[in-house]
């Protein structure tokens, strides 16, 4: 292993390859900030460049730089503008945006950069150690387990059920699931609930919905009630994180790197579920006073999804490199690039061409490191976006939401849907309905129904729930995650009442 490491390091540290990774990180970061262009599309765009280089290691190093840069770029728009462009960064906006609103934009970006770095790096270490062994575990997960895993992911909504608002959160989740059923399902290929409108045949676009639920209502609130985006004194304060904060998020980063990595290993589960689950788990195990901070700008609530998301991205390389199975859209595109470069990932890769395997791993380390070094000095400038005068910034935010929805679909109807949903979301926000559960339900709904349907077909009924212990275990875990917070709240209330009587 040491020998392989050194070979990889030697390849990756040549001047040409270092320039590649720097270029990749910069391109990825800047394009990734545009909503609508996630890592997947940016890598797809970069593939012609990478293939024309001819050297598989250099190409992979460039693509890894682009990949990590794009993930970080996506986080910046969800933290600064509440406009998550990729499903995996939705959870980052839950706490990142409130932090930016409190004038801690610089600190939020720093935490995101450090958490991403740690998640990616620890993920790469785990990949190095466990890749061969894990490939067999990933195959143990069948449709029933995936279904159960989605249900566990849905339990993240409990975090948004404020005191006494559980029903609202559930109703919003159901609404999200309902919206996910619009269009053609993968399993039946029948258009459902399209009301005969052609544009709905492929369902609602994720970015349209994300922009309508998060960015648009925020922008409208800023118009309705002008407020300084930079917090009280207009200064970007607290760029650095204090030692105390570092100590607070260190265990979160440690736990979420491991958890995120293992979720990422499962083909199809990926970064989105890892980030939601990471958020839910960290919230549940946090002490009571910190739990109330979640959703209002908790550093733990930002570090958890950022770490998990990056670790899961790294984890998704396990099935790609060991089995040749791409577990996510991004790795599928990478698989295409590798094949075009005459490298076939699969069980033979580590035997036949170990230098490629190690070059991939080294490129992950270097990509993460370069990203951290490049971005930490850039953060004050990125955060300056919020210092743009409001009269200019708001039209730009609105324009970005429109562009995000338009680039993905190239369809002007999508923009009308965006405005319509944006108005509805603003009304829901007025009435204190949490909007995040709707988006979570929508993202997980499609995958959940597909896996549920597949398990139903395989087992000819719902018997898979009790005949597969892992499924049952995951479903019980989900129930506990939903019920525990409200049970705790009730107990705390009862105790408080008891004290009052005693006095």
């Amino acid at each position: 292993m040491l020998e392989g490491l050194l070979t990889g390091l030697q390849t990756a540290l040549s001047l040409q390859n270092l320039l590649m990774v720097i270029a990749g990180c910069l391109i990825g970061t800047f394009i990734g900030m545009l909503p609508g262009l996630g890592p997947m599309s940016i890598i797809a765009i970069m593939i012609p460049v990478a293939i024309s280089m001819g050297d598989p290691s250099a190409a992979l190093i460039l693509l890894a730089g682009v990949y990590y840069g794009a993930i970080f770029g996506g986080s910046t728009s969800s933290i600064l503008l509440n406009a998550p462009g990729v499903a995996g960064t939705v959870a980052s906006s839950f706490d990142g945006y409130p932090m930016a609103r409190n004038g801690q934009a610089g600190k939020a970006l720093t935490i995101a950069a450090i958490a991403s770095f740690a998640g990616g790096t620890l993920g790469a270490v785990l990949l190095m150690v466990f890749a061969p062994a894990l490939s067999s575990v990933a195959l143990l997960f069948h449709s029933p387990e995936y279904f159960a895993l989605m249900v566990v992911g849905l339990s993240a909504i409990a975090a948004f059920a404020g005191t006494g608002q559980v029903t609202k959160a559930i109703l919003m989740t159901v609404l999200g699931l309902i919206m996910a059923t619009v269009g053609e399902g993968a399993l039946f290929n029948l258009p459902r609930f399209t009301m005969g409108i052609m544009d709905l045949q492929s369902g609602f676009g994720f970015i349209t919905l994300a922009m309508a639920m998060f960015a648009l209502p925020e922008a409208l609130f800023l118009v309705l009630k002008p407020k300084d985006l930079q917090g009280d004194n207009g200064e970007i304060k607290d760029l650095r994180i204090s030692r105390q904060e570092a100590r607070a998020i260190a265990p979160v980063i440690g736990r979420q790197s491991v958890q995120g990595f293992f979720i990422g290993v499962l083909p199809g589960a990926g970064a989105t579920i890892a980030s939601f689950l990471g958020y839910a788990v960290e919230r549940n195990i946090a002490p009571k006073h910190e739990q109330d901070e979640f959703g209002k700008g908790s550093i733990k609530g930002l570090a958890a999804p950022e770490t998990a998301n990056n670790a899961a991205c790294t984890g998704s390389f396990v099935p790609l490199l060991t089995l040749g199975i791409p577990g996510s859209g991004t790795t599928a595109i990478l698989l295409g690039a590798l094949i075009a470069l005459n490298v076939t990932p699969g069980p033979r890769l580590m035997v036949d061409e170990p230098q490629i395997f190690w070059a991939v791993i080294m490129s992950m380390f270097i990509g993460n490191l370069v990203l951290l070094i490049l971005n930490l000095p850039l953060i004050p400038y990125i955060a300056k976006v919020l210092a743009v005068p409001r009269n200019y910034l708001i039209p730009f935010i609105l324009f970005f939401t429109l562009m995000g929805a338009y680039i993905g679909q190239n369809n002007a109807t999508e923009l009308l849907i965006l405005v319509g949903f944006g108005i509805a979301a603003t009304a829901l926000k007025f009435a204190d309905y949490p909007l995040a559960p709707l988006l979570i339900g929508f993202i997980l709904g499609g995958m959940m129904e597909d896996n549920f349907a597949r398990s139903m077909q395989l087992y000819d009924g719902v018997s898979f729930i009790w005949s597969r212990p892992m499924t049952l275990g995951l479903l019980i875990l989900a129930a506990v995650l939903v019920l525990l917070p409200s049970y705790r709240a009730r107990r705390a209330k009862a105790r408080a009442a008891g004290v009052a009587e005693g006095d």
Binding site: I45, L224, N391, F399, L418, V419, G422
Partner: protein, 160 residues
């Protein structure tokens, strides 16, 4: 009745329409071989419609007492805020959606950014115009030329 209960009423209506479609209209068009499946396209929606209706009723009938919190914006006094600006910006977005194809990307985006700033009360026309032009031009260049995603730059009649 408070706004959240009005919304619950509306969502109840949505769930009922959705449920009606799922329970009574979808199964008849199912092909015979699909009817032997343990799960139908309508199975999941049927379950969802029932949960949705239950939750909406729960909120509508006021079983759940939410704690009164201090809110950012009180919708009962909406007209005290800059409601006009918000409505005009929304109208501008709709206009943008309708003009994007016929007017081309460059023209409609420049107009959108210019008018957006105008609605918000900016009056430095030259600065606004320059910023809008630079932004529209550079984003179009990035998306069309660098990334290769097609955007019609000019109105159709100039061959954009």
């Amino acid at each position: 009745m408070a706004l959240d209960r009005w919304i619950a009423l509306m969502l109840l209506g949505v769930c009922m329409v959705y449920g009606y479609t799922a329970w009574f209209t979808m199964d008849s068009s199912l092909a015979p071989f699909m009817q032997r499946n343990p799960i139908w396209p309508s199975t999941f929606p049927k379950v969802l419609s029932i949960i949705g209706m239950a939750c909406a009723l729960f909120i509508l009938l006021g079983f759940e007492q939410a704690e009164e919190k201090e809110k950012d914006i009180d919708y009962r006094r909406l007209w005290e805020y800059h409601l006009g600006q918000a409505v005009m910006l929304l109208a501008l977005m709709v206009a943008y959606a309708l003009c994007l194809r016929p007017l081309g990307f460059l023209g409609s985006t420049t107009a959108f950014l210019f008018l957006g700033a105008f609605i918000l009360g900016e009056r430095k026309y030259v600065t606004m115009l320059i910023i809008a032009l630079i932004a529209a031009g550079s984003i179009w260049y990035l998306v069309q030329e660098v990334l290769g995603i097609y955007m019609r730059p000019f109105p159709g009649f100039i061959g954009g």
